[in-house]
Symmetry: D2
Subunit: 342 residues, 4 copies
């Protein structure tokens, strides 16, 4: 039997979430997110982030959330800066550009943006013959599994405010970042330091759904029009409301992320035991071991994972992802295979 | 207690659909619609429409499906023709225009497009100073509850093919149209007569999801790129696959629509018994009675429905919608209220 | 020899304009409109409209000016209202929609928009499922040759300000409107009553070029970025600067329009002498006589003009346009032909 | 007196071009490029490139031409590859992205694209989660003054055809490239090896105007609709027609470029005499000397030029551009200043 570490959205939803959806199934609810479940979930999130003034919108998926966040904030000539590895830059089929905006990408060693990199972009964009950088996109955890420290985010936030740049944090894997032992940020910190961010449900135990949090007052106006126009306003909007109620009315959101991280820790230990190097220091639920090609090939017979890159002729860097649903048996089988192969 | 006839998406999903989702919850499935449930559901639909060559894509919602269908088919200077009442013309916040295309709308008495109306549009669009009409958008059932006969659709299809126009049928309420006693079309007929169409799940007992069927070969290429770009490719794509498996592996799709129509029949009878006129001949699950203002106001105390228009100073045309989940008790309560008030 | 009344851009430019371009030909000028001719022309226009705070941008053509004016002012979900006959609605190949915005068109008897028509549009656009009307587009003279009175424009302006709508006046034929005997508006009035407007050069004796005047402060920011992005920033920007210097440093702009109107007056008299009715009361440089088909056909042997519409089986409504370059001999030949034919 | 080497569009047009425009000034011509001058100019170009099947469109400016070429050829999910220094990537304010398409940029040492660089981009774009590369944009001369050899263009063309990529050559400075002593390409070669390209007028002695040549049959359909939609169809279209008639009915196009190159040769010799290194081997009309900061500053007192980059703390790389109108006295003055300063 093949076990998958391919991603953190291979299974459905946490049983408690499904249970809540079942229980509400025959309620008659008003559509488009105007229901009481969504209102309650918004309230829970506002409380969690300690910002009663925040606007919270539930969006079915991450690409939609990103394109709404960017296109809702920018005028036609404005651009968003991100790391070269940023999801919007490489893995959304040009969704941002399809709304008319350039993505300005910066090479980074580890997927983390710094003020120095931003400064370089600003220095190159000086007049009306070039796009005008107006937003900074970061992800936490990043696409290579790294996470922002509080100090790093504060520094970035200061730079952005000084230069009139909106700071947007893509939190598709925010649960895993926050639950990481290396993390010193809270949701309230993130709400303090960014202008908008989203809390990912899809990759952390919901069937689907992301909670987009708008903090900067300029970004809030008419946002529901934008959601509708991009086809991101679900008819049965309470479905996301119910899921985020479950995630935030108790500690389910962090509990599931902690499980994912524990499973990742076990994998990291197994890799480290065999002396296998990791491509990036990634303390959350993604791991990037660099394996001899034949080891990678042998593992692929029993496990699903993706290939990240080929660092040299004889090695393969693979990506292992754990989730709320990852089974200890699956991890143990992988560790056993490693002991056999590496 | 208030009972809602506000729309056909006030409740969740048919219990069998939820059950199937529960059962598959801990399976590990590949993402983005590449799973076996989606493959099976596609196969069931291809069989039902008798077109093994059709491409079937599952899209979370109707606005996304419409904007993908239109923007995927048109070059930048091309436009889509629809009835003035067409959903894409009035109720999608300019989603089509946001992809760059003009919607050319025709006034119609009943939401049904005819070759004569199309001919008038073509006659006005003669050179490169005007957009080039290239697609015709119809909905069945229409936004005012009417449905296409086979003869009407054949005539329209002939006209479109003669003039090189793609014919796109929005089937958000296709279940109810097909289950209507006034209907003589089959899904196979629709696949024969259109270039692309969609089978609506959201308004017929699914949690969400529409099955977009691409028939014309020119429309198929690279469609998954377009889906991804617009944020309409669900990570957990099997969720729509499972729902359409349930809808089409037995007669659930039509059974639910038949229930909705039966409930509508009961409402129609109750209205007719009190001599209340209907604004349109709508033989499916939407009814548009024209009521004295005070009757409408009195009904609104116990029932939810939307106001369609004000035909004159003292009357209100309201919209009643039934669904797979509409309860006979709700209908009976409404009939009783009518007997009391009208 | 065939004489053309086909439009007001059949000839090049007034000789004084060409002369000025010749004289400046070997100057070394900075590019993109940052030259002294453009600065001077801007100053002349600001003085003429009595608004030292206005931003003036020179754009090569009308479609570009319109799409910049609209897309520069609107957020993605916002729409522009115009008359059904509005140039942006019918004769710009969907240029506005290509920037993502819906054009909401109103039927009018005469191409003139009124507050009543706007009120009807506003009443229909009530929530986030529909686009949000945010701009009103009018043209003076209109596409059917009619013009706005001061009272009509004041009323419209009041309505727009009350409802937070930007008022944009397309002045492709503003010269002819202002020079009309039926006109009681000045450029300063227009600057007072609108939020942005443009003064057309192409149709009034320039080789090309329109002067877009931005009055509302919200519309001014970063406008040069938008111009560049749409490809509307000429490398040799002084070419439009020089032309508008000539148009406005003496009365050339109105003188040329007056000539066009006088030629139109002669045509109107000749038509009236033969009892030929006009489709619209058009007191500027466009005339829309309704002719028996055979008269129209016979005239077409010696004169160029366009066909506007077929009011009935045996009549044709044609469009005659005069310009700064229309020759009295051409008009006289047309009058003679009318005497012969009608 | 200050002399400008800032660009090749500081002066108006060659006197013969102005003369031809004067002579045609009072002709009555049909609009939008349907006139006989444009037809004749198209014919001259077709003959020059030896492709009777080519479609030739005259567009007022370069940014418009580029955005039309790219957006006219690509479907929504497709992208264009270019050098990091490519004009569309850095100096058109995101004009391509504003039409919805991603620009995929490659670092290059010299602005020249090679099959190896393209191969790397293709290798990274493997599925529907990423944009689909479909066009390659090159410029000749490039933005850093380098030019393509016939061998290099043949190799690129072969690669593009093999991989189904359209090859588009931006010829804003094609005249100077073709007139360079280092060049071995002809216009006919370029027509043979690319799918579309443009011949720049603005930077080679026309008032404005670029001739876009469409070769691949798939790119031709309905192109006039696209031109109109983007506001690039001039009312007085014969103005570009006349200019290209002059450019191509005798050798004016190459003669002017040769003059520009000769002036550049004189500058290069003066720089070389003082031992000043050049940043790139640029054999056409752009030169990039690397000067000590104080020399650059001193020269800036008498000459206009732009700063390209700061290679180190004490040097400045400037850009000198010559044109059809550059005066030998200006060049001599610059050489004298160099002798004095360097």
């Amino acid at each position: 039997m093949i076990y998958s570490f391919n991603n953190d959205y291979s299974e459905g939803a946490h049983p408690r979430i499904l249970q809540a959806m079942m229980e509400a199934n025959l309620e008659q609810n008003p559509g488009y997110g105007t229901d009481s479940h969504s209102a309650h979930a918004r309230e829970l999130i506002r409380r969690e982030i300690r910002r009663e003034d925040a606007d919270v919108h539930f969006i079915p998926g991450g690409t939609q959330t990103n394109l709404l966040a960017v296109s809702g904030a920018l005028r036609p000539h404005q651009a968003v800066i991100c790391a070269e590895t940023g999801h919007i830059n490489v893995h959304e089929t040009g969704a941002i550009e399809a709304t008319g905006h350039k993505v300005l990408s910066c090479p980074t060693p580890d997927g983390i943006l710094t003020p120095e990199q931003l400064q370089r972009v600003l220095a190159h964009h000086t007049d009306e013959h070039m796009v005008q950088p107006k937003m900074v996109y970061i992800s936490d955890a990043t696409e290579v599994g790294t996470i922002y420290t509080k100090a790093a985010l504060e520094e970035l936030s200061r730079f952005c405010r000084l230069h009139g740049l909106y700071l947007f944090l893509d939190g598709a894997r925010l649960g895993s970042a926050l639950a990481s032992r290396a993390n010193d940020l809270t949701l309230a910190d993130i709400a303090e330091l960014t202008d908008l961010f989203y809390i990912g449900g899809t990759k952390n135990g919901a069937l689907f759904g992301e909670a987009l949090v708008l903090l900067h007052p300029d970004l809030k106006q008419d946002f529901r029009f934008l959601i509708k126009q991009r086809g991101a306003m679900m008819a049965k909007g309470w479905l996301t409301g119910i899921q985020f109620e479950e995630l935030f009315q108790n500690s389910l959101f962090l509990d599931m992320a902690s499980h994912a991280n524990e499973m990742a820790d076990l994998l990291r230990r197994a890799l480290s035991d065999r002396g296998i190097p990791l491509r990036w220091e990634s303390p959350a639920n993604q791991i990037f071991p660099v394996l001899p090609d034949e080891t990678a090939a042998a593992l692929a017979e029993d496990f699903l994972f993706s290939v990240q890159e080929k660092p040299d002729q004889s090695h393969t860097c693979i990506r292992l992802v754990t989730s709320w649903a990852t089974k200890p048996e699956g991890v143990e089988a992988f560790a056993a295979a490693l002991r056999r192969l590496a």
